[in-house]
């Protein structure tokens, strides 16, 4: 697969595939040609060149390079990866861990799966670069329990990496903290909350996946109480092509994506680089596509996804997994980058876009989402444990036609009173409730008339009055 095969497609911005370089994907290749890239094929196509460049550099300079590129985390929060890496305390000879978050469980998100399925070595290269840069000796690849096939593929890739001395005894990384670097796969067992970084660490330690109170942050006291870096699969994978270009990496990376919003203070990061978008729902050709950050929703749907299914009209979309909330119908040409928060959403999330057409019942969508969060709440914080399930019950009732206008106000009040962010009154430990909060609030607010049409009229009584 070489060069562009889509000259006639004006809707794509990306000039050449980066993360999907070896994974045939529209418009550069045909997904039917996909097969697992072995270590040998990976090396033949410039693989592990980035690691070679990194190993020739001082670890600190690698961190600075990633910092200079302004790589933002691809797992949801969009936190700058280089900055996260620089939070580690100085080495003290003890163990330091890397945890790779592959607990991809958010509805709408299936992008990391593509990399694991077909190009596992780009992930392993990113892991090795990070271990070298941050002086981490042990890495755990936390993969969700339902990814059975992916687990087998990745185990085989790890074995290849060991056989070729990327990792393990006599690794080309040399000894780190006086230990040969190791990469182990840790299999989850079906818990969405384990995608939260500290819950993931608890799960690695063999406990229930209950998020921890921060501080201490994982960089200081993470897995087994030791300094730990937690990164998403795609974040680490994208470091490999950056390092492959050495000193030119940051400039190359920043030639893609969008600049920081106009007038934003310098500490607000821009949205640079390529990104995997997983599009599902009512489009003709759903799937994972690689594009530059900042492609518009319209171009993504009408270009790569070949339009709406059955010629229906666009109604709404979720920009990055259900926790990010919904866009209004007018926001059809919104740019999908990290600045999407200004459209009253929680953020770009994982860029798992769920598209819905004009026939979609938003009450049903809200009910489905509330049930998901009610089911996946870990039960540690009361507002989330009770609130999510309360909302799920109310929405099921509203959908069945038994709701009243009071329910709608109550729904907004419950949603707005849970979450770790100020929008959720800081009432919970982790961000799971923020997802429920934003999803339900944005759906109800942006599609109020649909909800109103489902319920009968009743005067609203505030919770505080009911409670008193």
């Amino acid at each position: 697969m070489t060069g562009r095969t889509h000259e006639n497609d004006p809707m794509t911005i990306l000039k050449e595939p980066v993360l999907t370089k070896r994974i045939p994907t529209h418009p550069f290749g045909d997904p039917a040609d996909r097969k697992v890239v072995s270590y040998k094929q990976y090396v033949k196509t410039d693989g592990y060149k980035g690691l070679g460049n990194a190993l020739a550099m001082d670890p600190k300079d690698v961190v600075d390079l990633v910092k200079a590129a302004e790589v933002r985390g691809r797992g949801g929060a969009g936190f700058p990866a280089g900055m996260k890496w620089s939070f580690l305390p100085p080495e003290d000879g003890g163990r330091r861990y890397l945890a790779i978050n592959s607990d991809e469980s958010e509805p709408g998100t299936f992008k990391d799966r593509l990399l694991i399925d077909f190009d596992p070595h780009i992930i392993i290269e990113g892991i090795a670069i990070c271990m070298h840069a941050c002086r981490l000796d042990t890495a755990y690849f936390y993969i969700r329990g339902e990814y059975h096939h992916q687990r087998e593929v990745f185990e085989a890739a790890i074995k290849e990496a060991y056989d070729n001395k990327v990792l393990g005894k006599d690794s080309r990384l040399g000894k780190i903290n006086d230990r040969w670097p190791d990469l182990f796969l840790h299999r989850g067992a079906g818990a969405y909350v384990c995608g939260e970084e500290t819950a993931l660490l608890e799960s690695i330690e063999g406990k229930r996946g209950w998020p921890r109170i921060k501080p201490p942050f994982p960089a200081v006291a993470g897995a087994f109480g030791r300094p730990t870096i937690i990164n998403n699969v795609e974040t680490l994978a994208v470091c490999a092509p950056i390092l492959e270009r050495g000193e030119d990496g940051p400039t190359w990376f920043q030639s893609m994506g969008t600049q920081r919003p106009e007038g934003a203070p310098p500490h607000v990061p821009a949205s640079f680089g390529p990104k995997l978008y997983g599009v599902s729902g009512h489009v003709n050709r759903p799937g994972v596509y690689e594009e530059e950050l900042g492609i518009t929703l319209k171009d993504l749907i009408e270009g790569l996804c070949q339009g709406m299914r059955g010629g229906k009209k666009f109604k709404t979309a979720i920009p990055g997994g259900i926790s990010t909330g919904v866009l209004s119908t007018e926001d059809y040409d919104v740019k999908l980058d990290f600045d999407i928060t200004k459209y009253d959403t929680l953020g770009l999330g994982t860029a798992g876009v769920i598209v819905m057409d004009e026939d979609t019942c938003m009450v049903g969508v809200a009910r489905n989402i509330a049930r998901f969060f009610g089911h996946e709440s870990c039960g540690q914080c009361t507002p989330c444990r009770e609130g999510t399930n309360w909302m799920a019950k109310m929405l099921a009732r509203i959908e069945a036609g038994d709701g009243t206008t009071r329910d709608l106000d109550l729904l907004l009040e419950i949603a707005g009173s849970m979450g770790a962010l100020p929008s959720g009154r800081g009432a919970t430990i982790c961000g799971l409730a923020d997802g429920a909060n934003w999803a339900i609030r944005t759906i109800v607010n942006k599609f109020w008339s649909e909800f109103e049409a489902k319920v009968s009229k009743q005067r609203y009584v505030s919770l505080s009055v009911v409670g008193g």
Binding site: G108, R144, G190, A191, V193, A223, F224, I354, H375, C378
Partner: protein, 174 residues
Amino acid sequence: MAWITKNSGTMQIDRRDEPYLTDEIKQKLEDEVVPRYDTRMAVTMPALHLVQDTHGWLPQQAIEEIAEFLGLTASQVLDTATFYEEYWLKPHGKYVIWVCQSLSCELLGQQGLTQQIGEHLGIGPGETTEDGKFTLMSVECLGSCGTAPCALVNHKLHENITADNFQKVLDALE
């Protein structure tokens, strides 16, 4: 729901002489898994997976054996085992059908599909057929939204399913 646990204080535990955590499994864990982690407690999840993959589910006796092997209390292991949805603390059918019910799958017709599968098998979600062949489960996102609706049958993922093609899959199972 992950956080609901049952009172086990007065529970009768079925026991058998032959251990679930066989010497062979113990050896495998000791050689391959224990060195990977800093604590023995961290071996809990791999041990639960291994016993479940061998036996199909996790009887209380197995929980106790794992606890003893790892130097933990049975309640610590049970605490972890009850949290995660994939661990079975009671037996299930030979084939477990996990139908995804999350948003992308629901948008593309999962509700009718689950109903049709249920009618075909004569069971509802959470139930097992009388012959012990199938257990039907409605679960949250399986990470296959682009090929929705989807379902796992034991460890195998089926994508873009319809009532027709999925019934053929089920009928072909022994």
